[in-house]
């Protein structure tokens, strides 16, 4: 079963193209990451999946239910943790969750509400008014609201933005458990180490297009080799320049195919009379993959589909 099927989805706001033909297929039970810089279209795409925004063209289905034609079934199957910290100031935490459960047409749901409260460390705050909660606690309630109808598909739009370490760990332990129990998880985050640790598969969006879609392992393998950050005084030799990815704060970032190249860089620098002031060598991580894809200067509107971009 496909949990979320996105087919040729576009979204235009006047002359601005927010999504320029997105195709994605997320299988049931996956832990899927949706990454991209601000303005890439992640939240617009999630909003279309959730029925908060209507696509200009294309089709989206959640657990096989079209989000427009069969919106009732699609929304029952979906829980969304929104990015913005919103709350209703009139009610307590428990009332908020009971109302949200009722909105989904459920009754006798108190056992599950208690379980969600306990798993998110909210039990002690259950009878507190929403206004009195800290930002982190309000974020927990947002997560609880998304889970209150036990949706098979859960979308978290930057759920850990500005929250402390404790909540992150509590949240990820709970979400991992839900994923193990069969829930499909879709996550957007700016914390790439989180995505690398949690997601089995990742799509990267840029300017409203999918520029990479693969398993996290394959994306990292695409950048096999080593990354070297080097700070020198003097002119860099040609060998070093040939491996340069970018320059930052007086340092150059190099990508090297083999460990033996590390010694060669040092030898070449010394031979050219450069003084090495600082050197750091490590493996590529998701952040490097992300930076490489996002710093690609070709205009995605004009470029041919890249071999790694999946449709």
């Amino acid at each position: 079963m496909i949990a979320i099927q996105v087919s040729q989805v576009t979204k235009r706001y006047g002359s601005l193209s927010a999504l320029a033909g997105i195709d994605l297929s997320i299988a049931e039970g996956e832990f899927f990451g949706l990454l991209g810089p601000n303005g890439a279209g992640k939240t617009t795409l999630i909003s279309i999946v959730a029925g908060l925004v209507r696509a200009t063209s294309g089709r989206v289905a959640v657990m096989g239910h079209d989000v427009v034609a069969d919106f009732r079934a699609a929304r029952l199957a979906l829980g969304v943790v929104p990015q913005e910290l919103a709350f209703d100031p009139f009610f307590t935490v428990r009332e908020t969750l009971q109302f949200q459960s009722g909105y989904f047409g459920l009754r006798n749901n108190d056992d599950w509400i208690d379980e969600v409260l306990a798993n998110l460390g909210l039990t002690a705050k259950a009878d507190s008014n929403m206004r009195t909660l800290s930002g982190g606690m309000k974020r927990r309630v947002l997560v609880a609201q998304a889970l209150v109808h036990k949706p098979p598909v859960i979308v978290l739009d930057e759920p850990t933005a500005g929250v402390d370490v404790e909540l992150r760990q509590t949240l990820w332990a709970f979400i991992r458990r839900l994923n193990r129990e069969g829930h499909t998880i879709v996550l957007t985050t700016h914390y790439l180490e989180e995505a690398q640790a949690l997601c089995q598969r990742i799509a990267m969006l840029k300017s409203g297009r999918v520029v990479a879609l693969d398993s996290t392992r394959a994306l990292l393998a695409g950048l096999a080799g080593l990354q070297m950050t080097l700070r020198v005084s003097g002119e860099l030799p040609a060998f070093v320049l040939a491996h340069r990815i970018e320059e930052r704060d007086g340092s150059v970032l190099l990508r090297l195919a083999h460990p033996a190249d590390v010694a060669r860089v040092i030898t070449e620098c010394m031979g050219a009379g450069c003084l090495i002031e600082d050197i750091e060598v490590g493996h590529a991580d998701l952040e490097d993959v992300f930076l490489q894809l996002m710093s690609d200067r070709r205009d995605p509107e004009l470029s041919e589909p890249e071999s790694r971009a999946a449709a």
Binding site: F87, F90, Y103
Partner: protein
């Protein structure tokens, strides 16, 4: 857990909308009741000896149903419009947009809550003002029909204004420049028969006039126009406002981009 029921979803939203105003009842119920009583004290005192709107009916007695209905209408409007704009601005509208509500359910719950608030405030105004003048309830069914239909119109109009407005300022403009003049100039404080012919004709173009006049008929069995004509105009106004509100919700205008 049982299967999802649209009836439970509707009932939950209605309950939440009613609790929303009930939890701040000092502001949403007590304050408008006090305002209406002040109108009665001031206008009743000044005009009691000078005006007899209907034969055999004192001015204060005439004024009471007008004030009750004005309170019903204004508070029904305030309820749906303020709920919607507040949740839009606070961002909490998302909790209503994510669940599987149809536009019928959303419309029904918001307007029903608006009717309840209007009627509760109206009962409050009546319960206090009734002690200021002898009263009659000649045809209570007309009172109920016009209160409910009038509040339904204003609840729908509140939804339209709440959907359209992007900030409180725009909603206040709608309330102060449309709703207030239309209710004040509808015959709450006077019988339109006392107006010059031109202004009588203008008053007959104002749907609020028919809401007040029909409602007042329920008290005195006297009115400026036939209650059946008022009922027809009010029913038509309800169909139009409800139709517009539901069409906006079905399209997701300013709600689902």
């Amino acid at each position: 857990m049982t299967a999802s029921s649209p009836a439970i979803a509707f009932r939950t939203l209605l309950t939440k909308e009613m609790l929303r105003f009930w939890k701040v009842s000092f502001q949403t119920i007590a304050a408008p009741v006090l305002t209406a009583v002040l109108y009665l004290l001031v206008f009743g005192q000044v005009l009691e000896a000078h005006v007899e709107a209907f034969p055999g009916v004192s001015y204060t007695a005439f004024l009471i149903p007008g004030l009750v209905m004005m309170s019903v209408l204004q508070n029904a409007f305030a309820n749906s419009s303020s709920s919607l704009i507040q949740s839009k601005i606070m961002g909490s509208l998302i909790f209503i947009l994510l669940p599987p509500f149809s536009h019928w359910q959303l419309f029904g719950a918001y307007v029903a809550a608006a009717i309840v608030r209007g009627v509760v405030v109206g009962l409050g105004v009546f319960a206090i003002t009734v002690w200021f003048a002898p009263h009659s309830l000649a045809a209570p069914h007309w009172i109920l029909v016009f209160a409910v239909l009038g509040a339904g119109i204003m609840g729908s109009l509140g939804l339209i204004a709440g959907i359209w407005a992007d900030k409180f300022d725009q909603l206040a403009a709608f309330q102060n420049f449309v709703v207030m003049p239309a209710t004040f100039l509808s015959g709450v404080f006077y019988s339109v028969h006392g107006l010059p012919p031109f202004w009588q004709a203008v008053s007959h173009l104002n749907p609020f006039f028919y809401m007040i006049d029909g409602f007042r008929y329920g008290f005195f069995a006297q009115s400026d126009v036939s209650p059946w004509l008022s009922l027809a105009v009010v029913a038509l106004a309800l169909v139009v406002t409800a139709g517009i509100a539901m069409a906006l919700m079905a399209r997701g205008y300013k709600l689902r981009n």
